[in-house]
Amino acid sequence: MALLEVKGVSRRFDDFTAVNHVDFSVTTGEFFTLLGPSGCGKTTLLRMIAGFDQPDSGSILLDGIDLKDTPPEKRPIHTVFQSYALFPHMTVEQNIAFPLRMARQPEEEIRKKIRETLDLVALRDRAKRYPHELSGGQKQRVALARGLVNRPRLLLLDEPLGALDAKLREQMQIELIALQRDIGVTFVFVTHAQEEALALSHRIAVMNHGRIEQLDEPDRIYGSPKNRFVADFIGNVNMHDATVEALDDTLTLALGKLGPIKAPRHKNQEVQIGMSGAFIIRPEQVSIRAADEPSPDPNQFVGTVNDFLYTGDVTTYIVDLPDGERLEALLPNSAPGRAKFFELGDPVRVSWKAEAGAFLDT
């Protein structure tokens, strides 16, 4: 049975609809992520699950029981806040003990659990320190420890890594996955950082304007986005207006003024000739080579290098195609010392396989 069920939940603030008829469920032990740009309703949703806000319609169930009349303190759900929300007048130890004291656990039990939890987050030597004496990463770990110490049924995490610098962020991501796996607490994670969502989650709900655009596993979200918003929000993508020219078991598309190209046809996709939509392809699916080198791919165009972006591991080339279309292609920098292969203005051949990319009608 699902641990958490969100059924038809809506929330309006005056004339702004923050959450618009959202449905999803989370199973025990899952790392579930709500991903979306700011203002998409993900935090409002989280606050309703925690009990700080009430849905205008719909219901939120935990273990099959409606949470409507349960105040936040009675819900076996804890939150890790974006600002950490550590109690500034309490030591690390006292912060972590707080949920246990509120649950009136025996003092001996509390001491034992504090010790275990401090070891879990490697903060034993900081037990007597106050929050202001800790670094950002340490505060983050105290907030996590405080949320987990009483083993809630559900831990909500509201952009908990948002305030950390890139290096620490990556390290905390790894710690977070290990922690979640080791103690088996169900996580509902809110973030606007798509890479973080892809790296951490079992399943991701991509939200926009208060709705869930797509709910899938990370590889499906990245590899088979359902619509333009998801395709554009997750990772880099080449997106071109396209019209269906012919269809059999593959699609033939006119790509803007270019064409025709071959694109895969998905099983459940309803397509007609003349239908217009978008063709999407990830830069890493596009091969790039010198214009005079032949390519075996069915889809290929010759263009010129307009610009390139060297980011260490890869170089992203922006290629101008005839008729004003533009395509991004990724080239891994595997040969040491050769940061770039092509110069600005070089003629190049871009190509991709018939099964790469997708046609989206929404």
Binding site: T79, F87, H132
Partner: protein, 267 residues
């Protein structure tokens, strides 16, 4: 940095203007003469006269009772008002709480007098009416200080308390109150000092039977300014000074907390 001598002179002048009269009052309280005119010799006599003055002792007791009770009431109500103003952003509460601060004291005194007499009758004027009147104008000060303390505090701290299992009352007692305590104490001390030296509002609401220290000083001055008044003023100064010292003992903690609190956001 080079400081302009003009700045030195002008600030010295300001402090001299502020403190020399006070210093003169204190010095002449030790003057062995009935007049405040010239220095004759050193004596503690006026303090001896003061502590043996039954009228003065009664007034002091009144003042202390009024200041203590009014400060306590104003602190409780003002803290509640300050929290409410911060948390719920009500439209009219700030006006209603803060107006007594801005209104001329004489207006407040007269309107309270009329109110007490019409509602409770002339004989109602007593210690109680003075306490009510003082509480009224002290609430606003406490509310402002408490609200200022809450402003900029991370709201999610209070939500975190609820989230982790605290009832609203536990959340107030264990999180909110300890965090605003410096402001609450500062508000209480401020209320106490405002109450103990209030003259105008007390004058209107005290009636005949409740002389306070400021009222007694006024009565004495009408006859003649004897060094007994100086002695009394010096003692009141000492009390106020003591309160300021206590408040500033709390203040470093207050400032430090603010600083730590600020750091929460920097990361």
């Amino acid at each position: 940095m080079r400081r302009s001598p003009l700045l030195w002179i002008s600030s010295l002048a300001v402090y001299a203007f502020l403190y020399i009269p006070l210093l003169v009052v204190v010095i002449f309280s030790f003057n062995d003469s009935k007049l405040n005119a010239e220095w004759v010799g050193f004596t503690f006599d006026w303090y001896r006269v003061l502590v043996n003055d039954q009228m003065m002792i009664a007034a002091a007791v009144n003042s202390l009772i009024i200041a203590t009770v009014a400060a306590l009431l104003a602190t409780v109500l003002g803290t509640m008002a300050g929290i409410a103003m911060h948390r719920y952003r009500p439209r009219f509460l700030p006006f209603m709480t803060l107006t007594p601060l801005a209104m001329p004291e004489i207006l407040l005194g007269v309107s309270l007098l009329i109110f007490f007499i019409t509602v409770f009758g002339e004989e109602a004027l007593s210690l109680l009416t003075v306490i009510i009147a003082h509480t009224t104008f002290c609430i606003g000060f406490v509310a402002i200080i408490v609200r200022a303390r809450l402003t900029g505090m991370d709201e999610s701290i209070f939500e975190a308390a609820r989230d982790l299992g605290a009832t609203p009352w536990q959340s107030f007692r264990l999180i909110t109150l300890p965090l605003i305590m410096p402001a609450v104490i500062a508000g209480a001390l401020m209320s106490f000092t405002l109450s103990i030296d209030d003259f105008v509002i007390t004058f209107f609401t005290a009636g005949a039977g409740v002389p306070t220290l400021p009222l007694t000083i006024y009565t004495m001055i009408k006859i003649a300014v004897t060094p007994e008044v100086n002695a009394l003023s010096s003692l009141m100064m000492l009390l106020t000074l003591a309160l300021i010292v206590i408040a500033s003992r709390i203040a470093p903690g207050f400032i430090e907390n603010q600083r730590h609190h600020g750091e929460e956001y920097e990361t």
